[in-house]
């Protein structure tokens, strides 16, 4: 191989070019450094987010559909607000008619409550009133204590199961079991603690929820005009869409909707949540790639510029090389090689910067968070690949110019 022999020389020429004019070279490489740095950090973040979403999502069951006044997928907020409430009676009607459902649950959620125990308190807690179907449709696990008995559920006993976050904040050193806490002023005895879910949205998960019997919630917060949520678990995960269709059919019947009428209720599922998350990740990576692309464009133009200068400065050298037998091809390779090495050097600097940043960010900023990021090997590889491509693409024009110089003119060049 004719060109392998030039590897060390090309590297040393590239390094000499960098040393000879550090400012110009640094500015040239800055674009590529920013580009590769961005894609690497973005990759670290996306990987971390993805892991976290999956962790959060796994706390919800994908084969459960929720009939709710609100649709999770978004939509016109004012329209949804004016929808009729989901009534308690629907539960019995659906239970009587549906054939593809395995179990049903009914609950009412109250957002933004506060919970107190002695002088400690937790804000923005969700209070859920649930019925006996709750354990079937939700993936809550009791870690300490127990769930409600049928008697407790029917008789509106003032008992509750609390999430991990609440338990750890209200009872940092003692066991909450048997203690009486106040949920927005209403006293409830803690009989169980749910296992921790973790994840980015712990505010919205069981971790930050007080679960109590449905009747208890009604007693505590009043009974009038409550829209409930009805959970319907499909008999088979594979045919869960049949369950959704059946649920929609009977809900239309209950609501007396004509075939062309828009739904005036929401049928929600974990999958919608995942779609939203995918949209967010998609947007994030689009922005990341856009920044990377623009930076690489700027960096590439810089490389092209520095290579044109290099060709100009080394015109005589090109003449000498031609006189002693360099072909056009070998000169194209030589200059492409140098451009690529410059770009790779910038890529390596970017990775050298990105690595400690990911580690420090993880250890300092995210030490208490469930979001954990690590140096993303795959994205780093992609970044180096992009750097190489940038070097080749933007080095081509200067390399071709070098190869086409007339040897007589080049040798005469001062």
């Amino acid at each position: 191989m004719k060109f392998i022999g030039d590897t060390r020389e090309s590297l040393s020429i590239a390094l000499t070019a960098v040393r000879a004019n550090p400012l110009r070279s640094t500015l040239t490489m800055l674009g590529i450094i920013i580009g590769i740095f961005t894609i690497t950090l973005m990759g670290a973040f996306l990987n971390g987010m993805d892991h976290l979403f999956r962790q959060t999502a796994s706390s919800m069951k994908t084969d459960v559909y929720y009939v709710d006044k609100w649709s999770w997928g978004g939509g016109d907020w004012r329209l949804m607000r004016n929808r009729p409430d989901i009534q308690e009676e629907y539960l019995n009607q659906l239970q009587a008619k549906m054939t593809t459902a395995a179990s049903f649950s009914m609950s009412i959620g109250k957002w933004g409550q506060n919970v107190k125990y002695k002088n400690r308190s937790v804000q923005f807690v969700t209070a859920d009133g649930v019925n006996e179907g709750y354990l079937q449709t939700e993936s809550m696990n009791i870690q300490y204590g127990r769930f409600f008995t049928s008697a407790e559920l029917l008789s509106a006993r003032p008992v509750c199961v609390i999430g991990y976050e609440i338990a750890s904040k209200l009872f940092p050193n003692t066991s909450p079991l048997g203690e009486v806490i106040r949920v927005s002023g209403y006293p409830l005895q803690v009989i169980g603690i749910a296992k921790r879910v973790g994840g980015l949205f712990s505010v919205f998960t069981i971790d930050n929820t007080v679960v109590m019997p449905y009747r208890t919630l009604q007693t505590a917060f009043g009974q009038k005009h409550q829209s409930v949520t009805i959970g319907v678990k499909a008999k088979s995960v594979e045919h869960k869409l049949d369950t959704k269709d059946e649920l929609e059919f009977y809900m239309r019947q209950i609501r007396k909707l004509k075939p062309n009428d828009q739904l005036n209720f929401g049928i929600n599922n974990q999958d919608q949540f995942n779609e939203q998350i995918d949209k967010i990740s998609g947007l994030l990576s689009t922005v990341g790639f856009l920044i990377t692309g623009l930076s690489l464009l700027v960096g590439g133009i810089g490389i092209m510029n520095i290579m044109y200068v290099s060709v100009k400065e080394r015109t005589r050298e090109i003449g000498i090389r031609k006189a002693i037998g360099a072909t056009r091809r070998s000169l194209v390779f030589q200059f492409l090689y140098e451009a690529t090495i410059l770009a790779l050097l910038a890529g390596a600097i970017a990775l050298a910067l990105a690595y400690p940043v990911t580690v420090l960010a993880n250890n300092l900023l995210l030490s208490d968070s469930d979001l954990q990021i690590a140096f993303p090997i795959a994205y780093a590889g992609l970044g180096l690949g992009l750097a190489i491509a940038t070097g080749i693409i933007f080095g081509l024009a200067p390399a071709l110019r070098a190869s086409r110089l007339d040897p007589v003119d080049a040798l005469r060049y001062e």
Binding site: K2, G5, D6, E9, S12, I13, T16, R316, E317, G319, I320, R321, K322, A323, I324, G325, A326, T327, R328, R329, S330, P407, V408, L411
Partner: protein, 234 residues
């Protein structure tokens, strides 16, 4: 004296014209040059500036191609060859020695001498061995790791000669090789050329200095793009 023919000459130029186009104007640098060089000749091409001797040297060195006429190198016509083929002839058959040495400033002596072998596609170990031998031949094996700016003018020119000879070319083409050297160093270089000639090398020397030209055994005088006189001097 044996007649020059394409078959018995290392180089044989036949009715060579070289025309430059300066806008609408045509400038004739060479107007029908015919000249041959036998193996192991030592020829000086002489002429004042503007005579066309530089153009002739570039053509002989395959750095340029004639506008018309034939150029036989070892019997083969090279007038119509493409860039890559000319590069190969420059690499394998011609050793250049320049007035300004034209060494690569960032590379040490050994690497400068090795470079033609890189373009010839020769393996690393053999390259280094041959480059080292070439340096030894010019008496600079102890300067192998020196960069050109760490060498004297005479040493630089000797490194350049080692580079020119490392591929064992058919001709050594020297363009004013003593032009940038003081008289004594110039004489050393000319003595060295004489030794190379004695060892069997073919040397073509391009110069405008009469006393340098007289080191050669034959002088071809160029004036106004034509051969003015072609005489054997020694």
């Amino acid at each position: 004296m044996e007649q020059y023919t394409p078959a018995n000459s290392v180089i044989y130029l036949e009715d060579i014209f070289r025309v430059y186009h300066m806008g609408a104007e045509e400038v004739y640098a060479l107007r029908g040059v015919t000249v041959g060089v036998h193996r192991n000749e030592y020829v000086a091409i002489m002429g004042p500036s503007g005579s066309g001797k530089s153009t002739l040297m570039n053509l002989i060195g395959c750095l340029d191609t004639p506008s018309s006429g034939n150029y036989f190198f070892n019997g083969a016509n090279v007038a119509g060859l493409d860039d890559n083929e000319l590069a190969e002839i420059r690499n394998k058959e011609i050793g250049f020695v320049f007035q300004t040495f034209n060494l690569l400033p960032r590379s040490d002596a050994l690497h400068n001498v090795e470079l033609p072998l890189v373009y010839a596609g020769i393996k690393k170990e053999e390259r280094l061995e041959r480059a080292y031998q070439a340096l030894e031949m010019v008496g600079l094996s102890d300067r192998a790791t020196h960069k050109p700016n760490e060498l004297s003018g005479g040493q630089r020119q000797r490194v350049a000669i080692a580079r020119a000879l490392v591929t064992r070319p058919s001709i050594l083409l020297a363009d004013e090789p003593t032009g940038n050297l003081d008289t004594k160093t110039g004489e050393d270089i000319m003595r060295f050329f004489e030794e190379l000639h004695a060892k069997g090398n073919t040397i073509i020397l391009v110069t405008h200095e009469e006393d340098i030209a007289h080191h050669a055994h034959r002088i071809v005088r160029i004036r106004d793009g034509k051969v003015e006189r072609d005489e054997v001097t020694r």
